[in-house]
């Protein structure tokens, strides 16, 4: 085998063809992943700009830079952009698309055309959402609670349709991943030899497939209520607004796991690679993803403790919600146990793992607290909840996204980024994050409601801290982006496997050739055989 990796004899996927057309009409999963990459980073920046404007407005209790109506529209857009255009597609559509087929020893996903179509459907959904924004946005928050959303004078109908279309794109991607995992595994790659990344993306795809249609339906009904006056949730026509909340959260709570399971996927790979150890328990990590995927469907009620639910029901939903913490804890303990006795390299992705661990455990523990009915009644719709879900969804998903962006950078582009700048930006992101959201726990506990434009003056110092943190977080992210972009052009050349990983995506060249492998590999080992030397590991994933 060529020491540069399987496939090194061919030009890499970026140079295999040239011209704009060869990109826009490509069916290569790696190029589609890069197009998604560009799109989700654009929306991360857009959502981030909205966030910074919101935080800047909250520097003072009165008007600082924008008026109240603009503020309402902006927090809605911040939520919609971040949830549907960044958090949900980010890791699966970018890194899932890029490395999942490589990890399976496959030449592509099962349905390359559907993969390309899912990108364009995603773009179409973004255009509809941005059009709605130009038409006046929406002032409902990303949860679109009726009856307000069905009567709001803003462009709720368009927003709902945009998110419905976005769901179609998610379903297409998820369908592709599930079928690919079932049908395109290389010879010898049994289920228990799959990289943990694949298990978690598989679990995520199952949630997407079964939860997204319900969300699509609920938002379609809201759009119909708003646009046609259908009144399915309108009390004037016998409708029950609480039913909307049931339908909405039946999707949207599992959606939290759609955002966080891919993060687990990344973290599992990073931990093993940078401690040069197999996972302490492969099955515990793999099956707990499926456990979360399953239990996630029975937790929606905890969003509605104060919406007229019996104490008994609330108790059951609270208990079921806490059940998720057991699976999460299994993962956390297994990752930590993996480090034991490992030869740990504190490189940038590993540092992001540490931040992830802290933020996820902190966010998760406050989640258990919020799932407790009596505490939830106090914290409901306050900044405590805002801080909690940002710790999980942003602290978890964003740090994992950054870990992945650094970890697979050499694989995707064949270059190395500047490690010192990487470490520095990582620290800036963490400190910025903590300063942004830790004060919000205190604000929420003291009684500041979410989404409010104004607040009593004694809350100001915490708001100032939070806004300062947000600006530091933003600066850290921009610096991280600059570091990677600079490395694209001037970075040192990376070998096929710069981290010494045993996972299968590293057996091909970096960047991979158009068809990933010259010949389909035969896999005779697990992806975490760190007791084998790199040469032995290569030999056991030899070309057929």
């Amino acid at each position: 085998m060529d020491p540069r990796g399987v496939g090194a004899t061919h030009p890499d996927y970026m140079r295999a063809e040239s011209g704009v057309r060869s990109w826009l009409l490509t069916k290569d999963h790696k190029r589609i992943a890069l197009m998604f990459y560009g799109a989700v980073i654009t929306f991360l920046m857009l959502g981030g700009i909205f966030a910074l404007i919101l935080r800047t407005e909250l520097l003072t209790p009165e008007t600082t830079i924008i008026d109240p109506m603009t503020y309402n529209q902006m927090f809605t857009l911040h939520g919609v952009t971040m949830v549907w255009l960044f958090l949900i597609p980010s890791i699966p559509a970018v890194f899932g698309n890029f490395v999942l087929p490589l990890m399976l020893g496959a030449k592509d996903l099962a349905f390359p055309r559907i993969n390309l179509a899912s990108f364009y459907v995603y773009v179409a959904s973004a255009i509809i959402i941005l059009t709605a924004m130009v038409l006046g946005g929406a002032d409902t928050g990303w949860t679109f609670y009726v009856p307000y959303s069905s009567t709001s004078p803003t462009a709720v109908t368009w927003m709902g349709i945009g998110i419905f279309v976005n769901g179609v794109s998610s379903i297409m991607t998820a369908l592709n991943f599930v079928v690919t995992t079932h049908t395109l595994r290389a010879q010898g790659l049994r289920w228990h030899r799959l990289p943990l990344f694949v298990w978690a993306i598989y679990g995520t795809s199952i949630i997407i497939l079964f939860a997204t249609p319900v969300l699509g339906l609920s938002l379609l009904l809201v759009a119909a209520d708003h646009g046609l006056g259908l009144g399915i949730f309108d009390p004037r026509y016998g409708g029950d607004p609480v039913l909307f909340q049931h339908l909405f959260w039946f999707y949207s709570h599992p959606a939290v796991y759609i955002m966080i399971l891919p993060s687990f996927a990344v973290i599992s790979e990073v931990v093993c690679t940078f401690s040069q150890r197999p996972p302490a328990s492969y099955r515990a990590i793999a099956y707990s993803s499926l456990g979360i995927a399953f239990i996630g469907f029975f937790t929606w009620g905890h969003h509605m403790f104060v919406a007229g639910m019996s104490e008994w029901d609330a108790g059951v939903f609270g208990g079921l919600s806490m059940f998720v913490a057991i699976f999460s804890a299994i993962k956390v303990f297994t990752w930590v146990a993996t480090l034991r006795g490992g030869s740990i390299a504190f490189s940038t992705p590993m540092l992001y793992f540490l931040w992830f661990l802290f933020l996820f455990v902190f966010g998760g523990m406050t989640g258990v607290a919020v799932a407790t009915q009596s505490l939830d009644v106090h914290w409901h719709d306050g900044y405590f909840v805002v801080a909690h879900f940002h710790f999980i969804m942003v602290g978890g998903a964003l740090t994992a996204f950054l870990a992945a962006a650094h970890y697979w950078f050499p694989k995707m582009f064949g270059k190395l980024y500047d490690e010192r700048v990487g470490l520095l930006t990582s620290v800036a992101v963490f400190i910025g994050f903590v300063f942004t959201f830790l004060p919000q726990f205190l604000l929420g506990n003291a009684g500041m409601p979410r989404r409010y434009y104004s607040y009593p003056p004694h809350f100001q110092w915490l708001n100032v801290l939070s806004t300062g943190g947000a600006w530091l977080l933003g600066a850290g992210l921009i610096l991280a982006l600059i570091n990677l972009v600079v490395a694209l052009k001037w970075g040192r050349r990376a070998g096929p496997n710069p981290w010494g990983s045993r996972s299968f995506e590293w057996i091909t060249s970096s960047p991979p050739s158009k068809h990933n492998f010259d010949v389909t590999p035969i896999i005779e080992r697990t992806p975490y055989d760190y007791h084998l030397s790199e040469e032995d590991a290569r030999a056991r994933s030899r070309a057929s």
Binding site: P101, A106, K107, D108, L109, A110, F111, P112, I171, L175, V178, V179, T180, H182, T183, L184, L209, F210, A211, T212, P213, V214, G216, L217, S218, L221, A224, L228, G229, L230, G231, I232, D234, P235, R236, Y237, G238, G239, D240, L243, H246, L247, F250, H515, T520
Partner: protein
């Protein structure tokens, strides 16, 4: 016309795997589609429990005979689709094309009957909520019964149209001998989709026509 060779996509090693992938994808997709309707069935159940008498009043407008005729039409179309799948596997592509064409015609019959019903509802002023002014609206529960009837049957109708397009494409492929014993997965998958459309209606029929 010569039979075209099966195209094996480069990411698959064998035709069997490729077909397995297509079949699996369709089943998973159908599972996903079922969840779309499941939300509506849940809404129906919740509102029906809330307003049992009003729903009775609302659905009394519906003509059981027309609903049943449509059920028979759809079941028959599923039978012709199943036959088409059988014959395309036996390489009788022309016959399969004919049967698929017939199924599309049944789909069209279903839609025509549905439009006759809708016209009748409009005539009797059995409309979804937004069409009423507050003064002349029937009781809230009855309005909700009609709204759900319209929304659920309309969404099902859209699926009928999608299914007819799929069957139509499969029929043209069969007529041109593009599909036959060598390649029938597309016919099979469009057939599966059509059965979903049929099954959803089998649930809508008792909810809106029989359980009054």
């Amino acid at each position: 016309m010569p039979v075209r060779a099966v195209e094996l996509a480069e990411q698959f090693e064998t035709i069997e795997k490729q077909e397995h992938a297509a079949r699996l994808a369709m089943w998973v997709f159908l599972g996903s589609e079922t969840l779309l309707f499941a939300g509506l069935f849940a809404l129906y159940a919740a509102y029906r429990v809330m307003y049992p008498a009003d729903f009775h009043q609302a659905l009394a407008h519906n003509d059981t005979v027309l609903g049943t005729v449509n059920t028979v039409v759809l079941i028959t179309s599923s039978f012709t689709v199943a036959l088409a799948v059988h014959y395309v596997r036996e390489d009788k592509s022309r016959l399969a094309a004919l049967l698929l064409g017939l199924s599309v015609a049944f789909g069209m019959t279903f839609l025509v009957v549905k439009f006759v019903e809708y016209a009748d509802h409009i005539h009797h002023h059995a409309l979804p909520a937004g069409m009423y002014t507050m003064a002349n609206a029937p009781p809230a529960g009855a309005v909700m019964g009609q709204t759900l009837y319209w929304f659920m049957t309309a969404l099902h109708g859209l699926h009928v149209v999608a299914g007819m397009i799929m069957l139509g494409v499969a029929a043209i492929g069969c007529a041109r001998r593009r599909y036959g014993r060598h390649r029938f997965i597309i016919v099979e998958n469009s057939g599966l989709y059509w059965h979903l459309v049929d099954i959803v209606w089998i649930f809508l029929w008792p909810l809106f026509y029989l359980v009054k």
